[in-house]
Amino acid sequence: MSGLLRVENLVTRFYTDEGVVKAVDGNSFHLDADEALGVVGESGSGKTVTALSIMRLIENPGRIEGGRILFLGQDLLRKSERQMRRIRGKEISMVFQDSLSSLNPTLTVGTQIVRVLRNHLRISRRDGWRRAMELLAAVGIPEPAKRVSHYPHQLSGGMRQRALIAMAIACNPKLLILDEPTTALDVTIEAQIFELIGRLKGEFGMGVFLITHDLSVVASFCQRVIIMYAGKIVEEAPVEELYENPLHPYTLGLLRSIPPLDGEAERLESIPGEVPDLINLPLGCNFSPRCALADERCWQVEPELSEITPGHRAACWKVKSPAATGGCHG
């Protein structure tokens, strides 16, 4: 059981004029088939860079500097660009955030889907179009026969996002990466889209890597969750475990900042302070400047991500022993 995806010590950096941005700084995690892994963090925490690293889509001035990305046991970092092209869109697919800018405005939705199909599968143009229509129907777009020849700007935001998903799942990928797929959409459509992805996941045994800054989405959709802060994983746990027993002070802050669903309590507590500059990271724990519990050791020495209880990892000096966690809840 090596799992679908196993990322080990991934390091991705950007060499900008201002300095070296440590966007992803030595992270390891894994993802199984038919599993949804939520990746949560503020913008700039390295979620998207992690995803793009898996896809090997890091562009200049960025570089993947180290680690291994094992997909079905094979290291993607050792693949040639040509081999990667055969994996992208077929084995691993990605749905981006902004559906309007992520679709080519000069090609119809159908053309863009058929193009992916014909790129990876031996399929006639005619069958491609039939399949594109089926896909649009499958993602819940009404009148697919009509919509297939529409241009992106002619569709609503929800429909565009579905079309983008249709394109991503066209070749039944084993791993689907979703980068905040529902930020621009309203709650009902968001729910529909997650229901759809959940169904596809069950049908094809697809692994889902869901990037979001919204913990409530993770709660309803994912089995496990990773919390990222300033390029590092600070906590990883099964979803229920994380909600019941959050260990890292940052996670705690995130959980407090979710407004309760029933809206009973009005308190929306955000974490004071700012995300650190990824070029000049603090010496010790990245979170220490904002952490209420930080002490000398937190400022000086960086804590390692270590397993606290089975399946539950955290990178915090204050939670070394299970006994200490009680203190964190305060």
Binding site: R85, S93, N104, P105, T106, R115, V116
Partner: protein, 320 residues
């Protein structure tokens, strides 16, 4: 699409009307009596009165304009006074129009054939040697005046290399298409260089713009082949703003052809208008300027339509 075309055509009418009014007013803006100005030293009062009446200059301004416009719509561009006394201007233009048209078209073709591929390659190989070289050439190209380049080409090809086709002058097509084109080649290069450089720079920056778009990343994430991404994602989208520049800069080709005709001694429309200005032949000036403006406006129209074909967002209006 048809509605869009009609809408654009109707919108062009007032622009044309005002432009024609402006051109017509130019004569009346002229300091002093235009007739006296035209006649120069032959200031015969009887001739002046005759011409005045013949040209309708004794009528109120708006009536004159209406009559002039009415004639123009019927294809009567007036009578030349001094360039070729008594000859219909329309005839003079017709004799020369093909030369200018050939020159402008030839240089447009050469310019685009060079600019578009160079712009594409330059952007795809951004900051490599070939990019730097083509950008430097483009910079020189936008800076060198076409008349200087034209004379340099004559000096090089006609004088130093002793090529008969490089010495300027016009060979009509009746004396062989090959000879005709050969003589047109240097003028077309001289005229097209700056234009080509403008388009190349625009193509390059539009390509770079398109390359940084999200949908290119999507295509890469779907494993689409690089040549297909270049063709359907990058170039197709980059061409949209470039088409506008191609159209907007056509004015440069039209204005520049006047200069180029002078350099290479080509008997074109530009040559005619220069003679018109020297000899103060107002009907000739008015007619040529009007024709150039009309062509310009119609080319812009054609460009907008092409734009519509390339960009479905315009073709179909807003969201449906």
């Amino acid at each position: 699409m048809v509605v869009y075309l009609l809408k654009r055509l109707i919108l062009a009418v007032p622009t044309l009307l005002i432009a024609s009014f402006f051109i017509f007013s130019l004569v009346h803006l002229a300091p002093g009596d235009p007739i006296r100005g035209m006649l120069g030293q032959y200031q015969d009062p009887e001739l002046i009165a005759q011409l005045r009446k013949a040209m309708g200059l004794d009528l109120p301004f708006h009536v004159q304009y209406a009559r002039w416009l009415g004639k123009i719509v019927r294809g009567d561009l007036g009578i030349s006074i001094t360039v070729k006394r008594g000859a219909p201007v329309a005839e003079l233009i017709a004799q020369r129009f093909s030369v200018t048209l050939e020159l402008a078209t030839f240089s447009l073709i050469i310019a685009l054939l060079i600019a578009i591929p160079t712009g594409i390659i330059s952007a795809l190989r951004q900051n490599r040697l070939s990019d730097h070289v083509s950008r430097l050439i483009a910079l020189a190209g936008v800076s060198i005046p076409n008349f200087f380049l034209g004379i340099l080409l004559i000096l090089l090809v006609g004088v130093y290399l002793r090529q008969p086709w490089g010495a300027g002058g016009y060979v009509p097509i009746s004396r062989g298409l090959g000879k005709n084109l050969a003589h047109m080649f240097l003028p077309a290069v001289a005229l097209g260089t700056a234009y080509s450089a403008i388009i190349m720079r625009m193509m390059r920056s539009a390509m770079l713009d398109a390359m940084s778009q999200d949908f290119v990343r999507t295509a890469r994430a779907m494993g689409i082949a690089p040549w297909d991404i270049v063709r359907r994602d990058i170039v197709k989208n980059a061409l949209i703003p470039v088409i506008t520049v191609i159209g907007n800069s056509i004015g440069y080709l039209l204005g520049g052809s006047i200069v180029t005709e002078t350099v290479f001694r080509l008997p074109g429309v530009g040559n005619l208008v220069i003679m018109g200005v020297f000899r103060r032949d107002f009907p000739v000036i008015q007619a040529v300027v009007l024709i150039i403006v009309v062509i310009r406006i119609f080319i812009n129209l054609a460009v907008d339509l092409t734009y519509g074909m390339l960009d479905p967002r315009i073709r179909y209006g807003g969201t449906s």
